[in-house]
């Protein structure tokens, strides 16, 4: 099961992981990463924009690359667009694998690519003003790991 989606309304990451688990009964483990809008700070809302002709096709290519690179039985990638409130899930990556390290590495790999090589632009509402979020240098360094000779997997 490979389920790659853009969503413009709030979603339940557990339901996604459950569907994946149900579809992969012989998986030994499910690794999930859920990124969410931090709550309790001064960010009142987040807005994610994307570019229809590139964003979802790019996520599908990423899933296919992960499928070829890791030993996966299934992969879910869900990513929000639009306006999000504090506490809302932004992204969920769930990987089902026979052995745990494939799933953990695949979630790590997908998140690094979604952070700095997927077609999303994020801005946050702070102090009554929208601020575009610049990519962090560390995100680019994280991504570069996967093309190094000494890559994580």
């Amino acid at each position: 099961m490979f389920d790659i989606r853009l969503l413009d309304v709030p979603f339940d990451p557990h339901a996604a992981a459950d569907r994946l688990a149900a579809a992969t009964p012989d998986a030994g483990g499910i690794t999930s990463f859920v990124g969410k809008v931090r709550a309790g700070g001064d960010v009142k809302a987040l807005e994610l924009s994307h570019y229809e002709p590139l964003t979802l096709p790019g996520m599908r290519d990423l899933a296919e690359t992960a499928r070829l690179r890791f030993n996966l039985m299934g992969l879910v990638i869900l990513h929000r667009t639009g306006r999000l409130e504090p506490g809302d899930p932004i992204v969920c990556v769930s990987a089902a694998s026979r052995h745990r390290r494939d799933g953990i590495a695949a979630a790590d790999f997908c998140m690094d690519h979604l952070k700095s090589a997927a077609w999303f632009w994020k801005r946050e509402l702070r102090g009554g003003t929208w601020h575009w979020i610049e990519p962090r240098a560390v995100d680019h360094a994280d991504l570069a790991r996967w093309s190094e000779k000494n890559s994580p997997v």
Binding site: L48, Y51, P53, L54, K115, A118, F120, W121, K122
Partner: protein, 80 residues
């Protein structure tokens, strides 16, 4: 028909619009002329990409958009 230019992320604010239509065909010089000066300046930054007809150009200065094509101006991303 024409070429539609899409301004993504912060370039939307810089352009003051989501998109605009310009006459076809459109090449790199035409694109720099068609957009506001601050957007043209951003376009010269190597971290800003250009897509045409759903494909990111490996060399944006080789842009050759035809009637009906979408041209997207893609600043550095910040997803996840």
């Amino acid at each position: 028909m024409a070429v539609t230019i899409h301004f993504l992320g912060p370039l939307r604010d810089l352009a003051g619009m989501d998109r605009c239509d310009v006459e076809a065909p459109l090449d790199w010089a035409g694109l720099l002329d068609a957009v506001a000066a601050p957007v043209a300046e951003q376009l010269r930054n190597e971290r800003v990409n250009v897509a045409c007809a759903g494909r990111v150009l490996s060399d944006k200065t080789a842009l050759h958009a035809q009637d009906g094509d979408e041209v997207a101006l893609l600043p550095p991303v910040s997803g996840g």
